[in-house]
C-alpha cells in the first residue's frame, strides 16, 4: 500500500467519524429542540386560555345580598 492510499483511507476515516459524530450530536439535540417547542406551545396555549378567563362564567359564582339573620 502506497503512501497516497494510506492518506486517502485516513481522510475517509476522518470524514466518516465527523459524519458519525454530527449525527450523534443531532440525535441528542433533537429532543431538546422538541422540548423547547412544546414548552413554547404550552405557554402560548396557556396565555390564550387565560385571556378568555374574564369572558367565561362559573355556576359557583354568586351575587351577595347579605343575610337577614
Amino acid at each position: 500500500m502506497n503512501r497516497k492510499s494510506l492518506l486517502t483511507i485516513a481522510l475517509l476515516a476522518v470524514v466518516i467519524s465527523a459524519l458519525f459524530l454530527t449525527s450523534c450530536s443531532n440525535n441528542t439535540q433533537q429532543p431538546e429542540s422538541n422540548e423547547v417547542n412544546q414548552e413554547t406551545q404550552d405557554s402560548v396555549t396557556n396565555d390564550v386560555v387565560d385571556q378568555v378567563d374574564d369572558l367565561l362564567l362559573d355556576e359557583n359564582e354568586d351575587v351577595e345580598i347579605g343575610e337577614i339573620i
Partner: protein
C-alpha cells in the same frame, strides 16, 4: 320677607346642586363593587345568570324571613312584627320585579338592552341589600342575643328544606344559562360551531379551561387564528364593559323611578290581594330613625 325667601331659594338650589353632584359618585362606588357582577352583562345568557342569582338569594332570604316571623311568635309572642312583615312584602315585590326582568330577556340582545338590564340589576341589587340590612338591624335592635339564638335555631331547622325546594328550579336555570353563555364564548373562540365539551366542564370555569387547553394543543397549526379571535373578543368585551361603566350612573338615574314605581305597584297589588295584619296598609316602608 324677600330676603328670607332668597335665602330659602339659595338653600334649595344648593341642595339640588349637591344632590346632582353627589349622585354619580355614589353610583360610581357601587359600580366599583359590582364590576365583577357586571362582567356577565355582555350576553343575554350572562344577564339572565346574574338576575337569576339575585332572585335565588332573594327567595332564600324571604323564606328565612317568613321563618323568623313564625319563630318570633313562639319566642316573643307579644312582639308586633308588622314592620318586618311589610319588609317581607317589599322583598316579594322585588323578587317579582327580578323575575319579570328575566322573563323579558330575548336570546339575542343589543347593547342598549344589555345596558338597561345592567342598570336594572344594580337598582334591584341595591334595593335588596338595603331591605335585608334593615330587616337585620330591626332584629338586632329589638331582640336580645339569647332570643336571636333561639330564632336562628328555629329558622335553621325549618327553612332549609323549603329553600331547597323553592330554589331548585332557579339553580337549574342558572346552570343552563351558564352553560349556554360559556358554549357561545368557546365556539366563537375556536370558530367551531359544532365543538363539544363535557356538560360539567361548561359550568365549571377551571374544568373548561383545562379542556380548552387540550383542544387548542390538538389544533396547534391554527393557534395564530385562535389568538387573533381571542384578541378581537377581548377588545369587544372591554369596549362593552367600558360603555356599560361610562353610562351606568346616568342610566341608573333614568331607570330608578320606573323600576321603583313597578315595585311599588306590585307591592300595592300584593297587599290588596292578601290582607294580613297590615292588609291594605300603605305600601311605603315605615322607616326607623
Amino acid at each position: 320677607m324677600k330676603k328670607k325667601l332668597n335665602i330659602v331659594l339659595m338653600l334649595v338650589a344648593l341642595f339640588a346642586v349637591f344632590s346632582i353632584a353627589i349622585m354619580p359618585s355614589v353610583y360610581a362606588e357601587d359600580n366599583a363593587i359590582e364590576d365583577e357582577a357586571l362582567k356577565a352583562f355582555t350576553t343575554s345568557f350572562g344577564a339572565k345568570v346574574r338576575l337569576l342569582q339575585l332572585n335565588k338569594n332573594l327567595e332564600t332570604q324571604i323564606i328565612k324571613g317568613e321563618e323568623v316571623i313564625n319563630a318570633i311568635k313562639e319566642v316573643k309572642p307579644d312582639y308586633d312584627s308588622s314592620e318586618l312583615e311589610l319588609m317581607l312584602e317589599n322583598m316579594r315585590a322585588l323578587a317579582d320585579q327580578v323575575n319579570e326582568s328575566v322573563s323579558t330577556i330575548p336570546e339575542e340582545v343589543n347593547q342598549e338592552t344589555l345596558q338597561n338590564l345592567a342598570s336594572d340589576f344594580v337598582i334591584l341589587l341595591n334595593e335588596s341589600r338595603s331591605l335585608i340590612r334593615q330587616f337585620s338591624t330591626i332584629l338586632h335592635e329589638d331582640f336580645t342575643g339569647e332570643e336571636l339564638a333561639q330564632i336562628r335555631t328555629k329558622v335553621n331547622e325549618n327553612a332549609q328544606q323549603k329553600i331547597q325546594e323553592k330554589i331548585r328550579a332557579v339553580k337549574e336555570m342558572i346552570t343552563q344559562h351558564v352553560r349556554a353563555h360559556n358554549e357561545k364564548i368557546v365556539r366563537a373562540m375556536l370558530n367551531k360551531p359544532d365543538v363539544r365539551f363535557d356538560e360539567s366542564a361548561l359550568t365549571n370555569k377551571e374544568q373548561l379551561k383545562n379542556q380548552l387547553r387540550e383542544v387548542i394543543r390538538n389544533q396547534a397549526q391554527q393557534i395564530e387564528q385562535i389568538q387573533e379571535r381571542v384578541k378581537q373578543m377581548r377588545t369587544a368585551h372591554e369596549q362593552q364593559l367600558n360603555q356599560l361603566n361610562a353610562n351606568i350612573a346616568e342610566r341608573v338615574r333614568e331607570r330608578l323611578n320606573a323600576v321603583q314605581k313597578k315595585i311599588l305597584d306590585k307591592l300595592h297589588t300584593r297587599l290588596a290581594q292578601s290582607p294580613g295584619p297590615q292588609g291594605g296598609a300603605q305600601a311605603s316602608m315605615p322607616r326607623r330613625k
